[in-house]
């Protein structure tokens, strides 16, 4: 049994069957990549995992509990953190504040009316946030407005924010899309380091084969809303079906 079990998930948008009969099992502490051509349904699948979409059929179990019908914040509180295709951070807030918010969310839950405490007195949260900023190599940017940072730094911050919650499952939707080569490599290094140092399960959607083959322990190829194959990276490379459906057209 994997930490994430997707069974027979289907999702239809009007006349378009975006997902059908999707089965997926993500093993604990592994890095599972989901690849596939444009419009294959990768993001739709991810949205079904985090409560943004509700599948028409099937089940999604995380750690033995169903996530279906739960709001995104509840699913996050269960231990799933998500990194978006375009970095979603609190642009008007400082980098430090960005880092503190997920830590507060982890400590205090979905809502707490802590209106009489002072942020600077929350020593433990401040410490944790500072530690994570150091780890992300952005301690010097702590007073910066998050919106003013480069794309690569925003991505780094977002990943750091997710990690600060110590999630059991980290979901990444094309984390390197639209990034310069250098930023992409930095992100790969960061993710590799995370994989090695933490007990964390990673599910990553990616277009960039370089990224996929550097990180993944296991790969699922999605085409037209259904998984085509699921296998280890070295076998995927040689699989003729995959070449035809995906690699062939992009290579």
């Amino acid at each position: 049994m994997g930490i994430l079990e997707v069974k027979n998930v289907g999702k239809r948008f009007g006349g378009l069957q975006a997902l059908s009969e999707v089965n997926l099992s993500v093993a604990e502490n592994s890095c599972h990549a989901i690849i596939g051509p444009n419009g294959a349904g990768k993001s739709t699948l991810l949205n079904c995992l985090v409560g943004k979409l509700i599948p028409d059929s099937g089940s999604v179990m995380f750690d033995g509990q169903s996530v279906l019908g739960r709001a995104p914040y509840e699913i996050n509180q269960m231990g799933i953190s998500r990194v978006f295709q375009t970095p979603e951070i609190f642009g008007d807030l400082t980098v430090m504040e960005n880092m503190m918010i997920p830590i507060f969310a982890k400590r205090d839950g979905a809502f707490r009316m802590h209106a009489f405490e002072t942020i600077t007195n929350e020593k433990q949260v401040v410490e944790q946030a500072e530690k994570m900023l150091e780890e992300m190599n952005m301690a010097d940017k702590r007073h910066m407005h998050a919106a003013a940072m480069s794309r690569g730094d925003k991505r780094r911050l977002e990943i750091g924010m997710c990690l600060s919650q110590e999630p059991r499952l980290l979901l990444l939707d094309e984390p390197t899309a639209g990034m310069a080569r250098a930023d992409t490599n930095n992100t790969i290094d960061l993710l590799k380091q995370i994989k090695e140092e933490r007990d964390i399960t990673i599910a990553i959607i990616e277009h960039d084969m370089h990224v996929v083959f550097s990180l993944a322990d296991r790969i699922t190829v999605l085409a037209q809303g259904t998984p085509l194959v699921e296998d280890d990276p070295q076998n995927i490379k040689g699989n003729p079906k995959v070449r035809e459906a995906y690699l062939g057209e992009s290579a």
């Binding site: 985090v50 709001a71 995104p72 914040y73 996050n76 509180q77 953190s81 998500r82 978006f84 979603e88 951070i89 609190f90 642009g91 008007d92 807030l93 504040e97 503190m100 918010i101 997920p102 507060f104 969310a105 982890k106 205090d108 839950g109 979905a110 809502f111 707490r112 009316m113 802590h114 209106a115 009489f116 405490e117 002072t118 942020i119 600077t120 929350e122 949260v125 924010m161 919650q165």
Partner: protein
């Protein structure tokens, strides 16, 4: 001090000193001088400064922090006033229970309106709040006449029960609002040479409430809760996927600001014990939006400045008339004098709205951060010049 950081403590102290010495500060001109009409240090206006200050401080907690623009906050002000007047009618003339009930009732009322309106955001939220407020206004004006007094408004009467007080005084008058015997309207005057300063119990009561409100706002701004409210404004999507439920945060902000409005309404009724439906009208809701934006939304002191600015204009500029202008420009040749007065005429007296409107547009266009941003620009300009002077002596390392 008071659990605040040094910068905030000094801000609070400055505001405290300014409000406590307002009777002096606002009356800088000798009573018989030509400029006396610019004096704002009379009880009625000073009360309005601080009461609308409270209203705007509360509004800013919702609008400045979460970005939800309510166009119906006057409804809470009105509800607070009605609640307070009912307290004067039924219980007694002490202002504390009246203000307490005003806060509670407007709080409950804002839970309902907030719960419904916050299902939408952006313009739809604004429209919903506007619709609710106009509905409240219409109800107060007609259907709910037994509770609100309808067109004439809710007034005290000689036969009100006032179970903890007296229905009428020994002289057969309606008693006046007071704080443990200290009448709100009682006023002391201090004459120093040509100057005259007025100290009013009602003003100081309201001012103390304003300081408490301001202190509370600072605490909220600096709290994790306040940070969450700013996060709502910045990126709700990220909040949801960070395990935070935005709905209760926005509702809490809405209710807090509704209670601030209720406090303001209760104080208004305490200064002058009557309440009318017009207090809930959309123009009143719009006014607090103007105050907050003019002063600087999302800043601590901005709303107070905005409230003061607008109330000053409303009460002082509106009183300047052509006769006054002729007095000022009497030194000019006759034709010139008439011409100048003719040019200025549309901007004064009843035309004060025009002046305010133009100023408001200038602020929004050139100082999106409001008067506070203006102040910051001036101070950084001054500081820049100072450090330039210093830099002439020695070379400073580049930042």
């Amino acid at each position: 001090m008071f659990g605040l950081e040094k910068k905030d403590t000094s801000l609070l102290l400055i505001v405290a000193v300014l409000t406590m010495f307002a009777p002096f500060i606002l009356n800088p001109f000798p009573t018989d001088s030509a400029l006396a009409q610019f004096n704002a240090g009379y009880p009625d206006l000073m009360q309005r400064f601080v009461i609308f200050g409270i209203f705007a401080i509360g509004f800013n907690i919702l609008f400045g922090l979460t970005g939800y623009l309510s166009f119906g906050h006057a409804a809470f002000l009105g509800v607070g006033s009605y609640a307070a007047v009912w307290m004067f009618k039924l219980i007694g003339m002490n202002v504390l229970p009246a203000i307490l009930l005003a806060i509670i009732v407007s709080g409950l009322f804002s839970v309902i309106i907030g719960y419904v309106s916050l299902r939408r955001s952006g313009i739809y939220f604004s429209i919903l709040t506007l619709a609710f407020a106009q509905m409240s206004f219409a109800l107060a004006y007609s259907v709910l006449t037994p509770i609100t007094g309808g067109e004439t408004g809710l007034q005290l009467a000689l036969d009100d029960p006032r179970i903890l007080g007296v229905s009428q005084t020994a002289e057969g008058n309606i008693p006046v609002p007071s704080l443990f015997g200290l009448e709100m309207r009682s006023t002391a005057e201090l004459v120093v040479g040509p100057w005259e300063f007025v100290f009013n119990v009602g003003y100081y009561t309201s001012a103390l409430f304003m300081l408490a409100s301001f202190y509370l706002a600072i605490r909220i701004f600096r709290s994790p809760f306040g940070m969450m409210l700013r996060a709502v404004k910045s990126n709700q999507q990220r909040m949801n996927y960070t395990g935070l439920n935005t709905r209760p945060y926005t509702l809490a902000a809405f209710v807090i600001s509704g209670m601030y409005a209720g406090l303001a309404g209760g104080l208004m009724a305490s200064m002058d014990p009557l309440a009318g439906a017009e207090r809930m009208q959309w123009t009143a809701s719009g006014e607090v939006v103007l105050m907050t934006i003019l002063g600087g939304a999302g800043t601590l002191i901005g709303p107070v400045l905005g409230a003061g600015f607008i109330k000053y204009f409303e009460n002082i500029f509106s009183k300047i008339n052509d006769n006054v202008l002729h007095g000022w420009f009497a030194f000019l040749p006759d034709g010139m004098e008439d011409f100048v007065v003719f040019i200025i005429h549309p901007f004064i007296g009843k035309g004060w709205h025009l002046t305010l409107g133009i100023l408001f547009m200038m602020v929004v266009i050139f100082l999106p951060g409001g008067l506070v941003e203006g102040g910051q620009r001036i101070s950084s300009w001054v500081r820049g010049r100072k450090s330039e002077d210093k830099a002439k002596g020695k070379t400073e390392p580049a930042e």
